[in-house]
Symmetry: C2
Subunit: 250 residues, 2 copies
């Protein structure tokens, strides 16, 4: 029997946001690998072995998955959100490219999921309804100078922006610097959405004008969405609606 690797996205947290094809892949799996809190979302059952691992061992985890598939296992690699957005799909392919030639002939599939920025945007209204960009603010794997360059160019392009991994205990200064750059480059009061643990019982969402944002409003469970210059707020009873119109008039 030939094995395979299926890299799946579990969405932001709620079961109602997991696609049927991901649910089916989990039903067929013999082995599930992933970061501890994501593997914890998979129900245990006879015939399924769970392989939770710690953060920052993405390549080790990928090699484990590929090696088990070579030995005939049906391996599912789990990410939260979408596996192709700052998640496990790239790590698995890095391992394939650097690994033994026979790994290239494995059956490897990627199944998309609801990524955090789109879940957050849906809760807030439609802040990503016009052109936008997505930036990983962690400088673990790229120089901070590149992040800063991208932030300034994204502001100049007037993209709405979604930030993943905005802030962690080990690098508290990056998001503070991000806010300085945005205030300097944007110079307005556009809305910023801090969306934490969307679709889970811990869900929290705040809309704050850019000049009033402070670094501690974000942590590693937060996705941050910054409006473009055209993003609007509809005030009403209850939470305001934040949306970016489809049109830009010349």
């Amino acid at each position: 029997m030939s094995g395979n690797v299926t890299i799946v996205g579990l969405g932001p947290g709620a079961e109602r946001l997991v696609t049927p094809e991901v649910t089916e892949a989990l039903t067929m799996a013999t082995d599930v690998v992933g970061y501890i809190p994501y593997v914890a979302r998979v129900a245990e059952r006879p015939g399924l072995t769970l392989h939770p691992s710690d953060n920052r061992v993405e390549l080790d985890r990928s090699r484990l998955a590929l090696d088990m598939a070579m030995r005939g296992k049906r391996v599912v690699v789990v990410s939260s959100g979408d596996p192709g957005v700052f998640a496990m799909a790239s790590a698995v392919f890095e391992a394939v490219e650097a690994g033994p030639a026979e790994w290239r002939d494995l059956d490897i599939r990627v199944l998309p999921g609801i990524t955090a920025m789109l879940a957050a945007a849906a809760r807030a209204g439609a802040p990503l309804g016009h052109d936008f960009c997505a930036i990983n603010l962690s400088d673990n794997l790229k120089p901070w100078s590149l992040i800063e360059k991208r932030l300034r160019l994204a502001a100049e392009a007037d993209f709405a922006m979604a930030f993943y991994n905005p802030r962690s205990r080990s690098r508290p200064e990056g998001f503070a610097r991000t806010l300085e750059i945005l205030n300097d480059a944007c110079g307005d009061t556009r809305p910023v959405i801090f969306a934490r643990s969307i679709s889970t019982p811990q869900e929290d969402i705040r809309v704050v004008p850019l000049p009033h944002c402070t670094p501690e409003m974000a942590d590693m469970r937060t996705v941050v969405v910054v409006g473009s210059s055209t993003t609007r707020i509809i005030e009403r009873n209850g939470a305001p609606i934040v949306y970016t119109p489809r049109s830009v008039t010349p």
Copy 2:
């Protein structure tokens, strides 16, 4: 009984990519409104009225949905992909903002979906595994000069790029110009993915080096994903894998 409006994303085409919460919203609906081919994806049943409408009448369609909700209906507005990405959510909120004050107090929810660029990326590998942007290439609602500015800044930022609505019969020249700009601004052979009708029986995916791309490779059913300068191809038996590594070395 109070009505509501639920703006949902049906994903790129296949039922296996529709989230359970969207399926449930459709089960509860009294009325479904949307562009003809998307409404055609909703199964008819007693108690459900379908309101298909033509393209480019998004505001009329939004007002119809809001008006029916005011009259107590449970209205679902359908988009393909994700409703917040170049789709109906912004149109509905534009109508709310311009409409009567009581529309603001309606129960309006947005339910995310699998957007075309993420379905396409998953099929190709992980081309959006590092920072990226999404641009609507239609100049129906914005000046072409803004699109051109964004393309040049996105290339300078070295984002991977996803293009929605790359080309239509009424504006065949925009995508040709886009390819000229990208060749000029990028000056390399990075891979470009043309993904058409992903997850449907008509699915077609091609990977082409940027200098070899031609305008007719795209149409309105195509999402185009352009790699960054670091995007790689893993050759193998069968379709190549296109992915963007997580790391950028200084």
